[in-house]
Amino acid sequence: MPVITYRKALNDALAEELARDENVVIIGEEVAQYNGAYKVTEELWKRFGDKRVVDAPISEAGFIGLGIGASMLGLRPVVELMFWSFAFVAYDQIVNNAGCIRYMSGGLVNLPLVIRGPANGGTTHSHTPESSLANHPGVRVVCPATAYDAKGLMKTAIRDNDPVFVMENTLLYGETWEVPEEEYLIPLGVADVKREGRDLSLIAHGRAVMTSLKAAKILAAEHGIKAEVVDLRSIRPLDEEAILQSVRKTHRAVLVDENKPFCAVSAQIAAMIQEKAFDDLDAPVQRVCALDAPAIYSPPLEKQQLPTAERVVEKVLSIA
């Protein structure tokens, strides 16, 4: 099976969907002539032209709102945010309009729209808004961890008839994974066990899945602990069954999450596990989140602020 980068997998997904459906249109800053700030849209403008791949000025509220409006008439805009942190200047469009229009129209309007981009990188650029966005019924939030998932989830997101927010990661763009040449789709709301284990469940999404896999290797090699790694892939909808199944098997859970701890995705999952699998637990549910301060610049500290494999191992050893 070919091994390609996360970036290329996204690029292939976009190219395939552009070719498949003429209503798909890519809009964003630097997506066309510049090839994308992170080269996710490389070559697409050359191949599909001005109509399908559109460079926008720096007006996130304007062009995201435009994407929402265009989706009301049946286009399938894929709007790129250079960083998800810039979503805040367009929050009204994203939350009030993309999130609520279907509901407040009594279901008369639907919005087949994707907003995508990286959700990490620099104090004002590093926010991980999946927790706050998944807070809003009406939207879907997806956080692929591997090239394989990125491609399959992106294609599904584009074909979905509700707004889907895809959160990528600049640190994953260059990571490689096996990706088949044949077409495939991954449904939203299906988690993936990235590593089987019986002693403890590491539950994560996005880049924290990679951190968890690293930690699982160390735990196996150095401590004889077989950790299972559950990749949520999608935050809303959420594969609750997969989480509970794993916890019922291992009886211990450590949630690994690049969100800040307060009201993080992992907070929701911890609440859910204690409500639904309390009797299966042999230890309290633990979390390893980003350290609770704005994202620091200083590179060595920045690395420690996000969950590291070492911190995960330490947390696991405290309950296993």
Binding site: A70, L73, M104, N110, T156, P187, V190
Partner: protein, 308 residues
């Protein structure tokens, strides 16, 4: 009836004059003061009244309320509660028309207070940059809540003239004369359909009632005499009726009959709304996701709601 209620009374010639020029390819979107627009696109009084009453028979099934009337089958895309939040959406409707090669336009309504929002300015730049067939119609009723135009905005000439900075054609005219509204709007519609280019129209108008249901300061920021003067001398319906009578197109009897008919229709709408069923608790969770409503594979996969 609860929540917000922004009455349109006094501004009727704007919605009726502009929307009466639309054909099947033109799209309409506005803010929260849009009851007049909803009726002008052909929503029934029953559907609107039931929505105000929060009933399942309302145009948005009682889920949207006064600020969120929708009728996509009549090209009416709401009904939006956040000031100027609809301005990029109108841009998107125009973008989709152009993308699909349809010779239509989008009329996007906003207030004189909304022109100070960033989203509107971003929209103007994009509309001009991408030659989109959108017409921003600023209904200048001289107040945003209790703040007069003079206390909220600086401008040369008028609010619409700000469009010059974006190289957009603009016009300003009096909204008390429906013929004037139609004639001047028509030019912008032609420009949108055929060039296509955007326009900004500022239409002078006036609201008689308070800003919303609660407008505790209604008597403080403007005088009762000012309201009375507008009702007497500048009411668009009275002025049009007078003209039709003078021209012999309408008789006094016919006018009275129309008034009675409208009053009866409104009374019937109230009865309809009162007798209509409320939405059920289960309806809380429908119309959130398209895929869930239709129970497609996507809608059946994973958990969508987190009540327990």
């Amino acid at each position: 009836m609860g929540g917000f209620l922004h009455l349109y009374v006094g501004q009727e010639a704007v919605a009726v004059g502009t929307i009466s020029l639309c054909d099947e390819d033109d799209q309409i979107i506005g803010g929260y003061r849009t009851h007049g627009h909803a009726l002008a696109v052909g929503l029934t009084m029953n559907a609107c009244m039931a929505e105000l009453f929060g009933k399942a028979t309302g145009c948005s099934k009682g889920k949207g309320g006064s600020m969120h009337f929708f009728a996509p089958d009549k090209n009416f895309w709401g009904g939006h509660g956040v000031v100027a939040g609809q301005t990029p959406l109108g841009l998107g409707l125009a973008f989709a028309l152009k993308y699909k090669g349809v010779k239509g336009c989008c009329l996007c309504f906003l207030g004189d207070g909304a022109v100070n929002q960033g989203a509107y300015h971003e929209s103007l730049n994009l509309a001009s940059l991408w030659n989109l067939p959108v017409i921003y119609i600023v209904e200048n009723n001289r107040y945003s809540m209790g703040t007069s135009l003079q206390r909220s905005s600086v401008y040369r000439k008028c609010l619409a003239a700000r469009a010059e900075g974006y190289d957009i054609e603009w016009d300003r005219f009096n909204g008390e004369d429906i013929y004037e509204v139609r004639a001047r709007t028509w030019k912008a519609i032609q420009r949108a359909r055929h060039e296509p280019r955007p326009s900004v129209l500022e239409i002078a108008t006036y609201r008689y009632y308070g800003h919303s249901v609660s407008d505790a300061n209604a008597k403080k920021y403007r005088s009762p005499e000012e309201i009375e003067r507008h009702r007497k001398l500048h009411d668009p319906i009275q002025l049009w009726q007078k003209r039709l009578l003078e021209e012999g197109i309408l008789t006094a009897d016919q006018a009275a009959e129309m008034d009675e008919g409208a009053a009866a229709e409104a009374a019937e709408a109230v009865r309809f709304a009162e007798e209509s069923p409320l939405p059920q608790k289960a309806d809380l969770f429908s119309d959130v996701y398209y895929e869930v409503d239709r129970q497609t594979r996507a809608g059946r996969t994973g958990r969508y709601f987190f009540n327990d």
